[in-house]
């Protein structure tokens, strides 16, 4: 379910099981910029983590981290950042430097992170936008994103890709092309669609327990294995145990199949 390195780090970090008053496992999810970065149904990713935790008796607390809210380096087990319009991306990029400096450290510590679309771009080293201005990213991943200019085609359409846990299905809509450095691994191999830069054949990135991708739609509801992978990593880091009870995913898998064959 996870790679050995993060597992070891998790045990070193946490040691003992810290449980809630009712002996329920407890996880804290920081939702970065729910107001500004929510353009492609990103809320669905949060709903999915909440529901899938609740059904397993895991107490998942979701905390909104807006512009100006400082990110406490040890406050969270999971962090999520969705997509935004260009205007909002600028505001977010400034705030990432001003109040969310702990994001990259949290990822170094094995905190689970998911960045989608704009949240993926801004978690790299930098994003050079349509007008050539450069936004500094959070530095979670060794990657950068370039917008090739107004004449270049946006990469839009259904996207499917193969990762270690099966297929991922979703939709992509981005002007920027993302290039991975040696410190980031690709998350998945594109089966259909454009992915990171439209040419490499790869989609998304991963580093430790951090994941970034262009797949929205939103990603997690119809990719339940990936959603559970994230929850499992957070549990493993905190409690040393990633076991999750199976759920009835008939509708989730139907949606997954439907998205894979969407035109």
């Amino acid at each position: 379910m996870t790679n050995g390195e993060t597992g070891k780090r998790a045990n070193e970090q946490t040691g003992k099981r810290a449980e809630g008053p009712s002996n329920k496992p407890r996880l804290r999810l920081g939702h970065l910029y729910p107001d500004l970065m929510n353009i492609y149904g990103d809320r669905g990713n949060i709903l999915t983590l909440q529901r899938r935790c609740r059904l397993r008796g895991i107490d998942l607390e979701v905390v909104a981290l807006e512009v100006g809210d400082a990110l406490a380096p040890e406050g969270f087990d999971m962090l999520f950042m969705g997509g935004a319009q260009d205007n909002e991306q600028r505001l977010v990029a400034e705030d990432l430097q001003a109040t969310k400096g702990a994001l990259a450290d949290a990822v170094q510590d094995g905190v689970v992170f998911l960045g989608v679309c704009g949240g993926y771009q801004l978690s790299g080293r930098f994003y050079r936008g349509l007008d050539g201005t450069e936004l500094r990213g959070a530095g979670v991943f060794d990657l950068f994103t370039l917008h090739p200019g107004p004449k270049a085609k946006r990469l839009i359409g259904n996207l499917s890709a193969r990762w270690e846990g099966g297929t991922l299905a979703g939709f992509e809509n981005h002007g920027g092309r993302t290039y991975l450095g040696p410190g980031a691994e690709p998350l998945a191999k594109v089966l259909r669609g454009h992915g990171n830069d439209g040419e490499s054949g790869f989609e998304g990135a991963r580093y430790k327990n951090a994941f970034g991708c262009y797949l929205h739609g939103p990603l997690l509801p119809k990719n339940p294995a990936f959603a559970d992978h994230l929850i499992g990593l957070a549990l493993l880091r905190k409690y040393g145990d990633a076991t999750l009870a199976p759920l009835d995913d008939a509708l989730e898998l139907m949606s997954h199949a439907e998205a894979l064959k969407a035109p």
Binding site: D35, L36, N38, I39, Y40, G41, D42, R43, G44, L47, T48, R51, Q85, D86, N87, E88, L91, I156, G157, N158, F171, N173, H216, G217, P218, P221, K222, L251, E252, M254, S255, A257, E258, A259, A262, P263
Partner: protein, 464 residues
């Protein structure tokens, strides 16, 4: 003498439309317009210039079709001949086709003196249409995220609108929703503007809901709201630069939404007042009515004619249309983006006897290939309120999944991508004498409507 290219173009467009209908390929509006524009790129400008009463363009994310219908009816009540592009043909080719088919065999518009054009334009096509149509007034209803894979992001649409207006003649009259900041701010520095808006706070909330797309001002600060009606529509102000909702000239007070099938409100137009009984339901249709009143005011049509049009208003194509099928009332509510769908949901809930619903989600090009928008609509508000729910369309499973994650736990929840089968099943399981509510996306609405028309005996749309 008409321009010979226009003459040839009109003939070709008419021929194409005739052939298309003969071949039963639908109304032929798109094809005939394309042929016409191919032969004569100046077709729209040439024919629109002949409209004796000029024309008005209606654009925005939601409410274009209904507002256009209300404006058309008001103009007819005022004794004008109306030329309107119906049937959802709101791109350039649709307008070209409408104009060409209204021309005679001499290539000139028939009976132009008393004619007014009422053109609904797609948010993107609007920018191309302005220099060709040279309208007297442009109505902007609202601006929300809609089909991001087609139109691009909301900010991009707003900036295209501003560019188009910057090139428009200064005499153009703008009709703007005062309550939608991204629309209202288009009026800055403009001489002729009529704003419309809803007064009072009874129907509002303290803060904008999730489907809000204009949270920050041009200056970068966050708007504050005295009241938010839906999405980012409400009484807004910017605490930093002091921009604020302009005081509307056309207003609704004391709005009553009843059971969601009609509404009443006190209309104000400057100093004048009238009580309006609107034959359409939901707050969004009150906004459409206000947009229509503001438009007809800008066009100098008599208010009495507009009031008559509002009183006798019936639903536009696929929007709150009702059909009688096998002793059940079947109601069709087009829902194609988060803000619109939220308005549909809150309107449905006004009548607690609505217990059966069919949601049809397609991902055709005209719907937007990207269905992620359903996750931005607040289905949560209706959790536990219905008994039987059906989902259908090319993305039937995704639709059902959205409802699952909104914690809908209806006794009956059936998924069938085949629209005809799902519709028949939903009708069969709707108890006789009760109501089936259908919420389709655009292309799904066309399919559902055709199937319902077969069963209920309404005409196909291009013959209406």
């Amino acid at each position: 003498m008409p321009d010979p290219r226009t003459l040839a173009s009109v003939w070709a467009a008419k021929g194409t439309a005739y052939a298309s209908r003969a071949l039963r390929r639908g109304g032929g509006t798109a094809a005939s317009g394309l042929v016409g524009l191919w032969l004569q790129p100046g077709l729209i400008a040439d024919l629109a210039a002949q409209l004796g009463e000029g024309c008005v363009v209606i654009t925005g994310t939601n409410g274009k079709t209904t507002t256009s219908l209300l404006v058309s009816n008001a103009a007819r009540e005022a004794g004008l001949d109306v030329l309107a592009n119906g049937s959802g043909s709101n791109l350039m080719r649709g307008v070209a086709s409408t104009l060409a088919l209204a021309a005679g065999s001499d290539g000139k518009l028939i009976g132009p003196q008393r004619r007014i054009g009422v053109f609904e334009m797609d948010e993107a096509a609007m920018t191309l249409a302005l220099p060709e149509l040279r309208p007297r007034a442009v109505v902007f209803t609202n601006l929300f995220r809609d089909q991001l894979d087609r139109y691009g992001e909301v900010d991009a649409v707003a900036s295209r609108w501003r560019d188009a207006l910057a090139r428009a003649p200064k005499g153009l009259h703008l009709v703007l929703n005062a309550d939608d900041p991204s629309v209202a701010l288009l009026g800055e520095g403009w001489e002729h503007v009529t704003y419309f808006g809803v007064e009072g706070k009874a129907l509002g909330h303290d803060a904008p809901d999730h489907a809000s797309d204009a949270l920050t001002c041009i200056c970068g600060a966050r708007f504050e709201y005295a009241v938010a009606f839906y999405g980012h529509v409400g009484h807004w102000r910017c605490p930093a630069c002091k921009r604020k909702r302009p005081k509307p000239h056309v207003t609704a007070r004391r709005v009553s939404l009843r059971d969601g099938r009609s509404a009443s409100f006190e209309l104000g137009v400057g100093e004048e007042k009238a009580t309006i009984q609107l034959g359409l339901g939901g707050l969004y249709n009150v906004y459409n009515a206000l947009a229509a009143v503001a438009a007809t005011t800008a066009l100098d049509l008599p208010l009495a004619a507009t009031e008559r049009a509002l009183g006798s208003a019936t639903a536009a194509f696929g929007r709150q249309e009702a059909f009688e099928v096998d002793g059940r009332r079947v109601e069709l509510f087009l829902g194609k983006n988060p803000a619109g769908l939220n308005q549909v949901l809150s309107t449905l809930l006004l009548d607690p006897s609505r217990k059966t619903a069919l949601f049809v989600l397609n991902d055709g090009i005209a719907d937007g290939r990207d269905v992620s928008w359903i996750w931005d609509a607040d289905f949560e508000v209706a959790a536990g309120k219905l008994d039987r729910v059906f989902t259908s369309g090319t993305r039937a499973a995704e639709m059902a999944l959205r409802l699952k994650y909104a914690e809908w736990t209806e006794r009956t929840m059936e998924v069938d991508p085949d629209i005809e089968r799902a519709l028949n099943r939903a009708i069969a399981l709707t108890p006789e004498g009760t109501c089936l509510t259908i919420v389709p996306t655009y292309t799904a609405m066309l399919t559902v409507r055709e199937l319902l028309a077969k069963r209920a005996g309404k005409q196909e749309f291009w013959r209406l």
